[in-house]
């Protein structure tokens, strides 16, 4: 695909906030897949960037399921060359649409679901979701969230679906590679994308890519994939202290030193767990 073609997949100029990771992410996805796609998603931040591929919208709580219907119709019509992309934020994916997504995965609907995770209900004005991290400020957790971020990736992995991956925009090759791989697999694919949100996370809009990179470098967000149950870590950066990721974000401004230590310990234990799983199959007896 020519550069012009890539640019034509998503119209220039968007209605998202300055520095939003969303349009960067969706552009990478369309670049990976080209024109033979149909998008499905609820109303949300993602819809603020206009894509020039067919898009179908249902309610916030319809996560994945409309895409499952589209995939079923395409199968009946024998249209096998079209990829059905289901978009939703972390609110849709991990909260109100979680049951639907779980059902899509259990049925092994032939779709790619992309969880565009900006760690909160950002379109409605920064409210907590179950994907909001521990201690983070939101307008519904004004003194900081008291529980940990739901591990949706592992929950989806235990639906025994063929492909699961994590991604973030600061690692575009890793990101695009995973989307391409998913498109080549039959059945339900889940890609969880960390999308830093300058508005909700309270950092300057020019630092989006830097925050995305720091999330991986500090192991606050790990990049890996689970193919037919086998875990593979795709990025193993030299670790930086998690403080470097937390400090630039206003949503963590109120954190005391013990809070940071607690988060560091959690991040370390998560990484240890992931490393232990690296190269092994989750679904087989350990």
């Amino acid at each position: 695909m020519s550069k012009e073609d890539v640019h034509a997949l998503q119209l220039p100029g968007h209605l998202c906030c300055p520095g939003c990771a969303g349009p960067i992410g969706s552009k990478l996805i369309l670049k990976a897949l080209g024109r033979r796609v149909i998008c499905f998603g609820p109303g949300g931040c993602g819809g603020m960037a206009v894509k020039t591929v067919p898009c179908f919208t249902l309610h916030f709580s319809g996560v994945g399921t409309g895409a499952g219907g589209i995939a079923a119709a395409l199968e009946m019509k024998g249209k096998t060359d079209i990829t059905v992309l289901s978009f939703a934020g972390d609110g849709g994916t991990s909260d109100i649409g979680f049951g639907k997504l779980s059902a899509c995965a259990e049925r092994n609907d032939n779709i790619i679901h992309l969880c565009c995770d900006n760690e909160g209900y950002m379109m409605t004005g920064i409210q907590k979701s179950s994907a909001t991290p521990y201690k983070a400020w939101t307008t519904t957790t004004p003194t900081g969230k008291v529980t940990w971020k739901k591990d949706l990736v592992m929950i989806m992995a235990y639906h025994y679906v063929p492909y699961i991956a994590t991604a973030t925009i600061a690692y575009p090759e890793d990101f695009v590679g995973k989307v391409k791989k998913a498109a080549g697999i039959q059945g339900f694919k889940y890609i969880h994308i960390l999308q830093p949100c300058p508005t909700g996370w309270r950092f300057p809009s020019e630092q989006t890519v830097e925050i995305s990179r720091l999330a991986v470098q500090t192991r606050a967000w790990n990049l890996y994939e689970i193919e037919e149950g086998t875990v593979r870590i795709t990025q193993k950066p030299k670790p930086k202290p998690v403080k470097e990721y937390l400090a630039p974000q206003g949503r963590f401004r109120h954190l005391a030193e013990p809070d940071v230590e607690e988060i560091q310990a959690f991040v370390d234990s998560q990484w240890t767990r992931l490393e232990r799983l690296d190269g092994r199959n989750l679904w087989e007896a350990q």
Partner: protein
């Protein structure tokens, strides 16, 4: 060759979906709809019907599956009832707004505040404002025939609205009656393959199909849907006529007039009560009492013009409401709607409302006769002794 078979409303619904060659079926079970969708599962498993049969985790999802599949060009079917209709309501509005010709059977069941599974029309009538066409059936044969008609109505380019085909819990869903199953090739001649002229999810002609247009366009989109609803009136009539020609069973379009000639009072019924009421009308007519019956098939679009024409010839109308709208302007939803339809008439008949059969409570011929007599009393005196009567209310 058409064949005759003893079947209940649920099985008739499943046969209709099969004859319509539906391509995607989104399913979530609920009493009393269950046998309709499990029958379809069997048909797909046995290779009698080539369709994607999709089990979901909720009615909301079942309708979302239908929405996506319909937008992507498949003919779709689902069925639900009661709490299921309430749970999928969010999607019902979207489907109508997106002008998707989804067809759904609603196995009318009360909405629980007490947990009954029996017939009341509250579940479908709750959805009367969202752009779904609503058709009510008297028996299993009409269920089958109306579902086939529903696809032709929904997929008409001047309509493109979803259709709900309603059948009463148990008295229709679970009661076996003789049904003539039309021949597949005759159905194919009546119902061509589905192709939406406007909504197409196709990478070669990219469209964005949203559920919420820009605020400044909402008035126009709403008006367009109302135009489609009004267009549906003629389409319902034409499709029913054509169906009658092809299969020998016309139903009168949006409503059926039963022995209204020379009637001074008429009952208006919806659903399975009609059968009992027709028997009562026959008997009373035999005794020379001037009573007639109007079976309302389409509640949406509401056949105001037809009702007005009948109202111009009679002195009293009694609406038999198997529902109630708490705190309404007076009575059940059918009566309130009828009052608006008749209001512009210079000389209006007396309008009475009868609340009956809630939660599937048996409606006896004696009770219907009581209603008919009240209507004839009003026709004679020009007055309603009681505007709203709860016929079966225990004192």
């Amino acid at each position: 060759m058409a064949v005759r078979k003893l079947m209940d409303g649920n099985e008739a619904g499943a046969y209709a979906a099969k004859l319509a060659r539906v391509e995607v079926i989104g399913v979530y079970p609920i009493t009393p709809q269950t046998e309709m969708v499990t029958r379809l599962a069997r048909m797909v498993a046995d290779g009698e019907l080539r369709a994607k049969y999709i089990t979901t985790e909720s009615e909301h999802a079942a309708m979302s599956i239908c929405a996506g599949a319909s937008a992507a060009g498949a003919r779709v079917f689902t069925a639900s009832a009661s709490q299921g209709i309430v749970y999928m309501e969010e999607v019902l509005w979207a489907v109508a707004g997106q002008r998707l010709p989804v067809v759904m059977a609603i196995c009318n069941r009360s909405i629980a505040f007490a947990g009954s599974v029996r017939a009341t029309h509250s579940d479908s009538l709750l959805q009367r404002d969202n752009g779904w066409i609503q058709m009510y059936c008297e028996n299993s044969q009409e269920v089958l025939d109306t579902i086939l008609q529903a696809y032709r109505i929904a997929e008409n380019r001047d309509v493109y609205l979803p259709v709900a085909v309603c059948l009463d819990a148990f008295s229709l869903t679970h009661t076996a009656m003789p049904v003539e199953i039309p021949d597949q090739k005759d159905v194919d001649a009546f119902l061509p393959p589905y192709r939406h002229e406007y909504v197409q999810l196709d990478p070669d002609i990219p469209q964005e199909i949203v559920y919420g247009p820009e605020p400044d366009d909402v008035t126009e989109y709403t008006y367009q849907r109302e135009v489609a609803m009004q267009n549906a009136k003629a389409v319902i009539r034409e499709v029913d006529k054509e169906y009658g020609r092809r299969f020998g069973r016309p139903y009168g379009g949006p409503l059926e007039e039963y022995r209204c000639d020379g009637a001074e009072g008429v009952l208006v019924t919806m659903g399975s009560i009609t059968g009992t009421a027709k028997d009562v009308v026959d008997e009373m007519r035999g005794r020379g009492e001037p009573i007639g019956l109007v079976k309302l098939r389409a509640f949406r679009p509401f056949p105001s013009e037809e009702l007005r024409a009948i109202a111009g010839r009679v002195k009293a109308i009694g609406f038999v409401d198997r529902n109630f709208s708490l705190g309404s302007a007076g009575g059940g939803i059918g009566c309130v709607e009828t009052a608006r339809a008749l209001y512009p008439m210079e000389k209006r008949p007396t309008l009475l409302d009868f609340i009956i059969g809630l939660e599937g409570r048996d409606v006896t011929p004696e009770q219907v006769e009581h209603i008919a007599k009240r209507v004839l009393d009003a026709a004679r005196t020009g007055k309603a002794e009681r505007e709203v009567e709860w016929v079966q209310l225990r004192s």
